[in-house]
Symmetry: C2
Subunit: 122 residues, 2 copies
């Protein structure tokens, strides 16, 4: 069974942490109904990556895709998140896992910046 | 004359700092030819926001739009960047300025996360 884990950095501000939940709802509208989705924060607060993976495994997920809500392909994306995902799956060798990449750079983000600045409606 | 300043957080990693320059090239392809564009980092390294604004003003910009390469609407977006922009423009009251908002949350970012995870080609 397919499961998606959406990971952001995590913040001390509850409004910032709510954003990954909002993003999970948006992803849910783009994938087949019934796709299992959990959210996690890399750091600062729960749910942790281990929490999110445990939630998905408890629902029978054996094909896990990790979606990254990060702009840049830095240390968090290259090292920290893969390490935590591997650790959480160490006792579950039957689970297939694929890690996504950082969002940027991309033309979609350029269009979105212009929209946020009120310069286009795209 | 219209000028765009694209601001990211800034990093100690040159590859991370190159991303805002890459994004500026992508924005340039979406706006009318000849639109003046500069980049700046909020923190850590140059060009600073003051540097970027000085570059644009020296080229005759009197209508400045600040585009934010940030996912979340946190303290950097709400306080730090507006404060630095105001300070840089304090001696230039003739310049009109508009600040954009953070990129997230948005359906485009949900679609882009799925693409980065290899789950769609959208």
């Amino acid at each position: 069974m397919l499961g998606l884990l959406i990971v952001d950095h995590g913040s001390r501000r509850p409004e910032a942490n709510a954003q990954v939940v909002d993003m999970a709802a948006r992803v849910a509208r783009l994938v087949p109904a019934g796709t299992l989705i959990a959210t996690a924060h890399l750091d600062v607060c729960a749910p942790t990556i281990a929490d999110g993976i445990a939630t998905l495994l408890a629902q029978g997920v054996d094909e896990l895709h990790v979606l990254l809500y990060f702009l840049a392909d830095g240390r968090h994306v290259r090292e920290d998140i893969p390490g935590l995902v591997r650790a959480a799956l160490a006792a579950h060798p039957h689970v297939r896992v694929e890690l996504g990449g950082a969002l940027g750079p991309d033309d979609l983000l350029a269009a979105l910046m212009l929209r946020r600045a009120g310069l286009t409606s795209a």
